[in-house]
């Protein structure tokens, strides 16, 4: 599956790169807005520097003086993320269509609404599995000795692991369903999801790819959270793009591989 995905990415790397750059451009735009806004608000206030350097109290005291601006920035970020999600209903089938040897625009247009419907159907298994993870975390959190150490706090979440594995399986199935829609040139999102769930749970090996992918994502995010604190803005941005480019490539390879797998069935 991985090899097939890598072949597809090699063949259609320009389209993949274009999509990645579009995503990066959206994020860069948001970053610029945040930078200029915070610079104007806090450029002459050393308290904000202390906050960014890790003093949580200083950060809280600084942010609350411009609460409205901070909330507005958060909404702007949310709007951009939502916009990207909507755009993905177009770009996603286009990319998969290209991997399948079809014209990007044709596949994107034909499967746009199918992808929208699929995302709505996907909410059902996602909410269910996330609820299972939440209940598991709550149960271990309730029975574990109280946590006083900052990292041991994460250990109380071990009850969420079965649920998170199911989330990974569902995420894998959703991607299968996308590949299924494009490979069959179909529009029945619900049926595609059911077929994909069956495929996922009858051939569970690809779930391992998702678990590895999820763990790598979580580890890198944690690393960024911890190691990012002392880094300056520009370097941080570069590290971020390297990480996200790697993430995107991994995802494209997985998607291409899934497409090949679905077509072979």
């Amino acid at each position: 599956m991985v090899a097939a995905g890598a072949r597809a990415l090699r063949a259609w790397w320009r389209i993949a790169l274009g999509i990645y750059l579009a995503e990066a451009a959206v994020a860069l735009l948001f970053t610029l807005v945040v930078w200029r806004t915070l610079g104007a608000l806090y450029g002459d206030r050393p308290l904000f520097d202390r906050g960014v350097a890790g003093d949580a109290t200083a950060l809280a005291l600084a942010l609350k003086q411009h609460r409205s601006a901070v909330v507005a920035l958060a909404w702007a970020g949310g709007a951009l993320v939502l916009g990207w999600a909507l755009l993905s209903f177009y770009l996603g089938p286009g990319l998969l269509g290209a991997f399948a040897g079809r014209a990007f625009g044709t596949a994107a247009r034909r499967q746009f609404w199918a992808f929208v419907r699929l995302s709505l159907w996907s909410l059902i298994p996602l909410v269910l599995t996330l609820a299972i993870a939440g209940i598991g975390a709550h149960l271990t959190g309730a029975t574990d000795p109280p946590v006083v150490d900052r990292w041991r706090a994460l250990a109380t979440l071990r009850g969420a692991i079965p649920g998170l594995l199911l989330v990974a399986a569902v995420a894998c199935a959703i991607d299968y369903a996308r590949a299924d829609l494009v490979a069959r040139d179909a529009t029945g999102a619900g049926r595609a999801l059911l077929r994909a769930l069956r495929l996922t749970f009858t051939s569970p090996l690809p779930i391992a790819h998702y678990v590895v992918y999820g763990l790598a994502l979580a580890a890198l995010a944690a690393l960024y959270l911890v190691a990012g604190a002392p880094l300056a803005g520009a370097f941080l941005f570069a590290v971020r793009q390297l990480f996200l480019a790697a993430r995107f490539a991994a995802r494209a390879i997985a998607t291409g591989g899934q497409l090949e797998l679905v077509r072979s069935r």
Binding site: V34, W35, R45, L47, V52
Partner: protein, 653 residues
């Protein structure tokens, strides 16, 4: 979804629970009610109560003998009684009108009303009840006496009453099989003498107010089921089985209230605290599912007792009971103080947060700030809640470290830092020194009474020195222990203890609106060239236009305190070559200009660099730099962009 699952799980848990079993007859504590023998207070209001807890009917039926000593200056012809439980009788009570059935996040259950009926009040065999009249609502009752009581005489009243408990939502009542029985018996008001005149203080029960009562002794016999664990104010002096159940006799001395808890599932854990004059047994009553939290409650209670006994006055009673209510009663019964018995909250544990310890420290701390220093919580809530909140931080900082005594997780926040953050979140509309029922809402009451008072005290500590302020607070405690101090008494005692008049700060801080508000004005730098222009006359006229690039810089800045509370403030000035000059601005004026002649430009000014001034909501403009720098903004923006991109990757491609 989550709550549905939890309901199912709880239901399964209930179904699988073992039947309630009888407990062994409790062994009396075998301790004197006081660690020292001698009375500590005037003991003006003492009670003997014989009470039966009917767990099925959710009622307490009792007989009470009230013995009240008249230490006023005029004869008393009528006495007022508190009937607190009538606050929950119907929706015309002041408490329910003000609260709309909500109290600190808990909501009153429909139809579970609570009330107290007092069918008989006798003075020397003469029935007084028919002449008694309710006050603003049925939470106070004025009882005309058959015979006036002269100053120095003692009044004895014999009462019968029945108290119906509500489902607990405001610190008294039942929840399932758990009972917290507080504010449950008729209680006499406080006769206060001021300016040669006496007046009764017996306020209507308001939602934001707590209590005020005279010290005395309590001899209480409780008739309770054999199945229930009991915790109560004072010490257990006798226990017997009377055929129907247990009779437990408690005695408490030099206290001003009595409360008890009953529950069939509670377990008890113990430790000891060493105080001058003896050892205090610390007990935590908890259900098995909260066992993991017990060591934290025990340690927090022990540290509080030992610290406050050392700093203020020794804890005088041999037992301190901490009740951790069951999960379904945490919000409604947890976090309340009574003498020698407090409630805390085990379910309030959030990983990384110290809220669990903080609640225990706070409630145990109330045994000093209101328990021993019995101020009027209705009129001057800050005097117990606020000063206690400040003092609690001393214990929390010692236990966890000042930089992480509130949150120690992915971020770290200190106890007093938290207070300052909360202080700025909601600017109090009312002065700290406002009657509890005159605040516009509960938020205003909370911000002013708890956090603003604590921040004011921390500011005083920062300005005058920790040891001096702690010493002065100890002086106040020793001077007013087992009495009824007022705000003026506190300010006077603090001035005495500090050896200087601190009304300049405490008066505006406690009795005015607003706070300290420091501001750094624009930084001005210019070359201190020799004066330019046309100098001299006639032949000696000459033009001087020197521009010396090596001339020193003249830098100036105006620092200001535009708040309503004056302060003594340190100021740090940083120059471009790295030199830092510090000064103390101590004349308490509104503003001051600082001017320097230095080889380098002034680039940054920071007022209060050590963050000693905590009574300030807006600290952002306490420092300024010139020119501005946006490096931190870039770093923050890069992080925001990263997480936005991660989120975009999760919801999109």
């Amino acid at each position: 979804m989550r709550s549905t699952w939890l309901v199912l799980l709880v239901a399964c848990g209930r179904a699988a629970a073992p039947p309630i079993a009888e407990r062994p007859l409790p062994i009396p504590d075998g301790k004197a009610p006081l660690l020292g023998g001698a009375p500590l207070s005037p003991r003006l209001a003492s009670y003997r109560i014989d009470a039966t807890l009917d767990v099925a009917a959710k009622e307490v039926r009792a007989r009470e003998t009230l013995v009240w000593k008249h230490d006023g200056v005029e004869p008393v012809r009528a006495v007022p009684l508190h009937l607190y439980m009538n606050a929950f009788k119907n929706e015309t009570s002041v408490f329910l009108r003000e609260s709309h059935g909500r109290h600190r996040g808990a909501t009153k259950a429909d139809g579970t009303w609570g009330w107290i009926e007092v069918p008989s009040i006798q003075q020397g065999g003469v029935e007084l009840r028919p002449q008694a009249a309710y006050g603003e609502d049925e939470t106070t009752l004025t009882v005309p006496l058959a015979r006036p009581v002269a100053p120095g005489e003692t009044l004895t009243l014999d009462l019968r009453f029945t108290t119906r408990l509500p489902e607990v939502f405001a610190r008294t009542g039942y929840q399932g099989e758990f009972f917290l029985v507080g504010e449950w018996f008729p209680k006499i008001g406080v006769l206060r003498v001021e300016g040669g005149r006496q007046r009764w203080i017996c306020d209507t029960f308001h939602v934001a107010s707590e209590f005020f009562a005279d010290f005395g002794t309590y001899d209480v016999e409780l008739h309770v089921p054999r199945t229930h664990a009991i915790a109560a104010t004072g010490v257990l002096v006798a226990a017997r089985d009377d055929g129907d159940g247990r009779v437990l006799a408690y005695r408490a001395e030099d206290v001003h209230d009595f409360v008890f808890m009953a529950d069939p599932w509670m377990q008890v854990a113990r430790t000891t605290a060493a105080v001058p004059g003896g050892t205090v047994e610390v007990r935590v009553y908890h259900r098995p599912e909260h066992a993991a939290h017990v060591p934290r409650h025990l340690e927090a209670a022990r540290r509080t007792i030992e610290t406050f006994s050392r700093m203020f006055v020794p804890y005088p009673w041999p037992i301190m009971s901490v009740v951790d209510p069951p999960s379904d009663a945490e919000g409604s019964a947890g976090g309340m103080e009574y003498p020698t018995l407090v409630t805390t909250g085990g379910d309030w544990d959030v990983p990384g947060q110290k809220l669990l310890e903080e609640v225990t420290i706070h409630e145990v701390g109330h045994n000093w700030f209101q328990g021993i220093l019995a101020s009027n919580e209705v009129d001057e809530g800050w005097l117990d809640e606020g000063i206690n909140t400040y003092a609690d931080g001393i214990v929390a900082d010692a236990m966890f470290g000042a930089d992480r005594s509130s949150i120690d997780g992915l971020v770290r926040v200190g106890y007093y830092d938290r207070d300052q953050i909360l202080l700025g979140m909601g600017d109090a509309l009312s002065p700290i020194d406002t009657k509890s029922y005159e605040f516009p809402d509960f938020q205003d009451y909370g911000v002013a009474t708890y956090y603003k008072t604590s921040s004011a005290m921390k500011t005083l500590e920062g300005m005058l020195g920790r040891d001096r302020v702690w010493g002065a607070l100890g002086h106040y405690a020793k001077k007013w222990a087992y009495k009824h101090p007022r705000g003026d008494d506190f300010i006077a005692a603090m001035s005495e203890g500090l050896g200087e008049d601190v009304r300049w700060f405490l008066e505006p801080a406690l009795r005015g609106r607003g706070d300290v508000d420091l501001r750094v004005g624009a930084i001005e730098n210019r070359r201190a060239d020799p004066p330019r222009g046309i100098f001299g006359e006639g032949d000696k006229r000459e033009a001087r236009l020197p521009e010396d690039p090596k001339a020193p810089w003249e830098s100036s800045v105006v620092v200001a305190n535009v708040g309503r509370v004056p302060a003594i403030v340190d100021v740090a000035f940083r120059f471009e070559d790295g030199e830092v000059v510090t000064a103390t601005w101590s004349d308490r004026t509104t503003w001051k200009r600082y001017t320097f002649h230095k080889p380098a430009r002034l680039v940054e000014v920071t007022m209060d660099p050590a963050r000693k001034i905590r009574l300030e909501g807006n600290v952002l403009d306490d420092a300024r730099r010139d020119p501005p720098r946006t490096g931190a903004a870039a770093t923050a923006a890069a992080r925001a962009g990263f997480w936005a991109q991660v989120l975009a990757g999760l919801v999109g491609l």
